[in-house]
């Protein structure tokens, strides 16, 4: 043949994806960097030159603390004479663990919440039916309508709490005989009696999508960083039952687990929003209708047909979120509310180094640059993934 045959051989999606990803040079470099970092973290006990927690004995203390970089301690030693390089290597374990765990868990939670919200948007679920309402059907797992009974408890429990509030707020005023307090009290009690009666015969229809979206709005309205601080202090405190339990169960690792938990608590919001939008659009597609017409269950349509098509932006998001989680973890540890010493993390190493910045400036550079380079690498990989998966998205 005279002309060269055009290569029309079909390529698999992953081959195409890899071809496009490879073109992003910085992403490739970053991927290599991350791979190396993972290796270093995994094999830390064999790579680290010293024990990261070992402090020199007191007889030679002055020579060993704040030692500038030397062949024996390539990055010097810190205020307790511990080897900075070894602590840096062990810190990589924590940062990567926190990054991956937070990102994957929060994308998973976000995926489920967003998928449910998107799929059930505009299809009301009756979350509450009054005791007087006679209706067939529904969920009878234990021989009675469990959900309905639970919702009565929730509803009347709420009325009870509101009642206590009305009593509590007007208590002093009523004792002093203030007519304003009495008016407020009677008004509140009246409103609650009316609500209780309404709840006895009526039904409240709540959209699952509205519930989840409102929850997201609500969590976005709370200033995040202070809340992270409060939660971390609260859950860590051994005087609180949960804190005592987790300290006992996990020891030093408790603060690592808590940080992951807290960051996931606030990390799923973005992915839930993205998935919700995607599912909302996808469920109108013909193939979703076709699957429903064939008699597939909601669960099957949602997780078998719709969710796989909504995954592409999540891959990018999860990569970016790894970097972000590492950044937030180091920020919290820097403020002293994150992972607690003696566990070495880049954040608390940097916090420690800041105190001695004028005396031993070499302490601050290594952890700072490691956080910076790791986050940068994850951002570049995310960018490469975005180019390869969906060049149009602006995530």
């Amino acid at each position: 043949m005279a002309t060269q045959a055009v290569n029309t051989q079909a390529r698999s999606f992953s081959a195409l994806f890899w071809r496009r990803f490879r073109r992003h040079k910085l992403a490739m470099v970053s991927l290599t960097f991350i791979a190396l970092l993972v290796l270093v973290a995994v094999f830390a006990p064999w790579i680290a030159p010293h024990d990261p927690f070992a402090q020199p004995r007191s007889d030679d203390l002055s020579a060993r603390i704040f030692a500038p970089p030397s062949p024996e301690h390539p990055l010097g030693t810190d205020d307790l004479g511990r080897d900075v390089l070894s602590r840096l290597i062990y810190g990589a374990r924590i940062s990567l663990l926190v990054g991956f765990a937070v990102s994957f868990s929060s994308v998973f939670v976000g995926l489920i919440m967003g998928a449910l919200a998107g799929y059930y948007a505009g299809r009301p679920l009756r979350l509450y039916l009054g005791p007087l309402r006679q209706e067939r059907g529904g969920w009878y797992p234990l021989g009675f309508a469990l959900w309905r009974v639970l919702s009565w408890f929730a509803f009347y429990g709420l009325i009870y709490l509101l009642g206590q509030m009305v009593f509590g707020v007007t208590h002093l005023g009523r004792e002093a005989g203030s007519p304003l307090a009495w008016a407020f009290f009677l008004l509140g009690v009246g409103a609650l009696v009316w609500a209780a009666f309404w709840g006895f015969k009526g039904k409240a229809v709540l959209d699952l999508d509205t519930a989840i979206s409102r929850l997201i709005d609500f969590m976005l309205a709370i200033p995040t960083l202070p809340l992270l601080l409060v939660l971390s202090a609260l859950l860590r405190d051994p005087r609180v039952a949960f804190g005592a339990w987790i300290q006992g169960a996990l020891g030093d690792a408790a603060s690592v687990f808590l940080i992951i938990l807290i960051l996931v608590l606030f990390g799923w919001l973005t992915s839930a929003r993205i998935v919700r939008g995607q599912i909302l659009a996808l469920r109108e597609q013909d193939y979703a209708t076709a699957a429903q017409a064939l008699g597939a269950s909601d669960f099957r349509v949602l997780f078998r047909h719709l969710v796989p098509n909504a995954l592409a932006p999540l891959v990018v998001l999860s990569t970016l979120q790894i970097g972000n989680a590492i950044l937030v973890e180091s920020a919290l540890s820097f403020l002293g509310f994150g992972i607690q010493p003696p566990v070495a993390t880049w954040g608390n190493m940097l916090a420690n180094a800041q105190e001695y910045i004028f005396m031993a400036p070499w302490l601050a550079l290594p952890p700072g640059f490691m956080i910076f380079l790791t986050v940068l690498a994850f951002n570049f990989v995310g960018d490469g993934l975005r180019d390869a998966l969906d060049p149009r998205s602006r995530l």
């Binding site: 707020v169 609500f218 309205a221 200033p223 960083l225 202070p226 820097f334 004028f358």
Partner: protein, 336 residues
């Protein structure tokens, strides 16, 4: 539009109640109570006296009742006293801290915006040129550098290392605010010029640190937004009409590309008020972020509650303002 605004404002009420209750409950659940200090200062206090104090302060009420009492007080305009500073919480937050934070974060926001828009436009117009690659790379660097590390780095370089190494190199302050009061200017002890110069001098490094992140983010956003607009049909039409490239770019493309920026800036404003704990910590700047942080550490819950509730209100309010502003700058958007 008015009906929409009213509806959104009404929707804000339950949202804010829930948010403030959540914060209140979290603070109330913290171990230890304000009486710890009484116990510490007077170890011989009896259990009955403590119980009486507890009742007087309403500490033995359940949390939701305490919240309801707090809310009633706040609605009457009383935010309580700061235990650590001995002034009204409102005075401490809104007079001592908020203005300083608005100054620092406001300037940072402006700097970020003034750099991000032109650089983003430049980068979009020269898409796929070396200049564009450099800008993109720098934007990634700006997004990834932890601002507390950048702060420490700049502090070390510009306040210590460089002034030491190079004679005559200006030494930047290591943090804090100028040791001057505006009162001294009014009395003529220092000149206004000197006062402003000192302030500017103290703000240079924190502003650089604080603006880096949003500068990088907005540059990328501006670039993407402008590129999207430039690929539209009406831009091709404008070019086909023979308009000068300058007119196409600034009159047709840029004005549309700026619309999404409104959202970004609107949503960043509550962040301006919440201050920046990390930057303020590194530069020991007395702003809101640090105030909230200290209040949490010192268990000064009146201050923490007032500040956090105020911030939640601002987040909700600026969400609404942003949505409304969006309709103003983009007539295609209508709310009904």
């Amino acid at each position: 539009m008015i009906a929409y605004t009213v509806r959104r404002l009404l929707q804000m009420v339950p949202l804010l109640l829930a948010a403030s209750f959540a914060i209140f409950a979290l603070l109330a659940l913290q171990p230890g109570d304000p009486l710890d200090e009484v116990r510490m200062q007077n170890p011989r206090i009896t259990a009955e006296e403590l119980q009486a104090l507890r009742r007087a302060y309403g500490l033995d009420d359940p949390i939701h009742v305490r919240y309801a009492k707090w809310l009633t007080r706040v609605l009457q305009g009383d935010l309580g006293y700061s235990r650590t500073y001995g002034v009204a919480a409102a005075e401490y937050i809104f007079e001592q801290r908020l203005p300083k934070t608005l100054l620092l974060s406001g300037i940072s926001l402006l700097v970020a915006l003034l750099v991000a828009i032109p650089v983003g436009v430049f980068s979009a117009v020269r898409q796929y040129t070396p200049a564009d690659y450099i800008v993109t790379f720098l934007a990634f660097v700006g997004l990834s550098i932890p601002n507390f590390f950048l702060g420490i780095l700049l502090l070390y370089l510009f306040s210590v290392r460089l002034p030491e190494a190079i004679p005559g190199f200006p030494q930047f302050p290591t943090g804090g605010v100028p040791p001057l009061l505006f009162e001294e200017v009014r009395q003529g002890i220092v000149s206004l010029w000197e006062y402003l110069r000192l302030w500017a001098w103290h703000l240079v490094l924190p502003v650089i640190v604080l603006s880096t992140g949003s500068m990088a983010e907005w540059t990328r956003f501006m670039r993407a937004s402008l590129l999207e607009v430039l690929s539209q049909d009406y831009i091709r039409t404008a070019r086909a009409k023979g308009l000068a490239e300058r007119v196409v770019l600034y009159k047709h493309a840029l004005r549309n590309a700026l619309i999404p920026i409104v959202t970004l800036v609107g949503l960043a404003i509550p962040g301006v008020m919440s201050g920046a704990v990390l930057t303020e910590t590194v530069f020991s700047y007395p702003g809101m972020g640090r105030a909230i942080f200290d209040a949490l550490v010192e268990k000064d819950y009146n201050v923490a509650m007032a500040a956090l509730a105020f911030l939640a209100l601002m987040v909700a309010l600026f969400n609404l303002v942003t949505d409304l502003l969006y309709a103003v700058v983009d007539p295609r958007i209508r709310y009904s």
